[in-house]
């Protein structure tokens, strides 16, 4: 019996959207206020969905504590209250929330055994959100 278990986590981080591939004017045109030199912050909501068989003894897809531990050590310890631009995952990649979503997915992939990571959703504000389901989609 396949089911899903999901959990939402909050983290605060700063970023600046800027790429060396574009000129200063082009960066400003592409990213607007998000290109301001000293960056800005977000309270990100990270939603993690795990998929797998329901254990007949425990009735669970994954123990909540296993997911909490994986997200804490792999994602929150790394990104919470950090400047995303300073993280090695964003030296060659602009820390848009799309790319943050993919980074979180990569960091969590394989860490939710016996369940599997189904998707990562990141809400940047109440009105902006992004989802990543892996490359198979």
């Amino acid at each position: 019996m396949i089911a899903y278990f999901g959990r939402r986590y909050l983290m605060s981080a700063s970023h600046r959207l800027h790429t060396d591939a574009l000129s200063a004017e082009e960066n400003q045109a592409a990213y607007g206020k998000c290109n301001n030199p000293h960056g800005h912050g977000h309270n990100y909501m990270v939603e993690v969905l795990a998929r797998g068989p329901v254990d007949p003894e425990t009735g669970m897809v994954i123990n909540l504590a296993v997911m909490d531990e994986a997200v804490q050590t792999r994602v929150l310890d790394r990104f919470d209250h950090a400047n995303l631009n300073h993280d090695p995952m964003f030296t060659a990649v602009v820390p848009t929330t799309e790319n943050l979503c993919k980074a979180v997915y990569k960091l969590l992939q394989g860490s939710l055994a016996p369940a599997k990571l189904e998707y990562v959703r990141v809400e940047e504000t109440e009105n902006n959100f992004f989802e990543y389901f892996g490359e198979a989609l």
Binding site: A3, G59, V61
Partner: protein
């Protein structure tokens, strides 16, 4: 639920109908009950949120299917604002004839939220 919008009404399902089905099949059995002691399916199964999602699916699916329109697509149960479980049916991950036949067709999803009695 998922299905093609009715060409006349534009509805996938009538929301009021779905609300009544949920009320009849699920809420009357679950709302303000002790799940372990008063709901038969949890006499033999632990009422984790995963198992509640599965049990709600099993209660709703026959009624939704019998209506002959939309199909039940998923049941998501929030235990808190931050913790939830979901079930998408026994065919989840199993390629079948129906999904091959209809997989490419336009489908629209509708969800309903029903407040608890007394609130």
């Amino acid at each position: 639920v998922a299905g093609k919008p009715d060409p006349v009404t534009g509805f996938v399902v009538d929301l009021k109908w779905l609300k009544d089905v949920i009320e009849r099949e699920v809420l009357t059995a679950y709302d303000h009950r002790h799940l372990n002691l008063e709901v038969p399916e949890f006499a033999s199964k632990i009422p984790t949120t995963e198992n509640i999602a599965i049990a709600i699916w099993q209660r709703l699916e026959p009624a939704v299917t019998a209506a002959g329109g939309a199909k039940l697509a998923r049941v998501r149960v929030y235990e808190t604002a931050d913790i939830f479980a979901e079930y998408r049916g026994p065919q989840d991950g199993v390629p079948n004839e129906r999904s091959l036949l209809f997989g490419a067709e336009e489908q629209v999803f509708v969800s309903g939220v029903k407040s608890r009695g007394g609130i």
